[in-house]
Assembly symmetry: C3
Homo-oligomer: 156 residues x 3
């Protein structure tokens, strides 16, 4: 891989992650699936702000379909904003790369009960070329801070 | 256009949009004008968070001078913060490109009345080379969420 | 410097600044030091939101070690989030560059007293190659807006 190809790969991986954020917030689950490798792993055990989830396998989604199901269910009844900042990407070979991207997420659920989450953290990720395009292979979310507002009265 | 030139064009368009955000918030209207093509169109019909503006031509500015007048009038008496995130850019030819960039804006007006807007959305854009530099040719803002706080008591 | 090398330098400087933000928020002071040139200058005289600091040399840290001491002391007892947006970078020679990056910072101190700061602004920066890598040589923070909440009751 020569230098222009390496720079192109870095850019493709950044645009990949930008599509991830966009498809999550526009709830375009079909396109979101294609951001991930078929056997991708999405690990949010450290992302809830609750110590109780740190070892909970329910917070690890394995495989493209399970990941999209997990994300779409988590955001059901909500409007969400997810932003990425300062994506560090390193190309390890022609079809493998790793990176870290800072993130902020704001989720407001209206149903079945009103609640909100405002979080800050980092995605630690591995990327692979599959079916001719860079895709997310491993994604683990760590947190700097999570603020939650759970209105348990709700409407559910 | 070879690969290094394509990567350079992508970077120039990202820096162009970064200048857009910076000149808006530092209220540098003279430099903001040069970010746009002379016949640019800036469409914020879906950006107010109000259904009533969706078909309102007053929310479409046509031409560089009209765009700068529209933005500067909108932000008069305010301090503002506009940030872009995850700019996806695709080069279509040596002088045409398209892209999407996530955004967050925070505007606080002190006069003539106190009010604030905190919004999240995406700019959907076309870019063209004009007078030797990439510039914004079409920019349409869609919203994920807008929170407004209108204090109609004001001082005006 | 040919075009691919210039693009690589731009990317390295962006990743440098991304590491700066990440090491600040993860409080990795050892790695943060290496982001800076040995004789770097970090100027936050305009960053406090207080007019009284504008000419105060205590808000200028000179040298890598002084900078890390300054930042780590400022953030002691806090959790912090610092994000960069739209990093404009221009390469001036094989080992000199300049740039501007928009920023948002959120700092919440728990001890010795509760307080918080939520700010928005721009870093105006110079970069140099030192010991074989791009590093921050000059960094001056200007502000668009700072919101502070000082609970002087505290626990200290």
């Amino acid at each position: 891989m020569d230098l222009p190809q390496e720079l192109k790969a870095i850019d493709e991986i950044r645009q990949l992650k930008s599509r991830y954020f966009r498809f999550v917030d526009t709830k375009d689950w079909q396109q979101l699936a294609m951001v991930f490798c078929r056997d991708a792993i999405f690990d949010t055990r450290q992302a809830s702000g609750l110590a109780s989830t740190a070892d909970d396998e329910n917070y690890v989604a394995r495989g493209r379909d399970a990941i999209v199901a997990y994300i779409s269910q988590s955001l059901q009844g909500s409007s969400s904003v997810h932003h990425g900042h300062g994506h560090e990407v390193h190309i390890d070979s022609a079809d493998e790369a790793h990176g870290i991207v800072a993130m902020e997420d704001l989720v407001k659920w209206e149903a079945p009960r009103r609640a909100s989450l405002h979080g800050y953290g980092h995605y630690h990720e591995l990327y692979r070329v599959e079916d001719g395009a860079w895709r997310l292979w491993r994604s683990t979310l760590t947190r700097l801070r999570v603020e939650t507002d759970l209105d348990m009265g709700g409407t559910g």
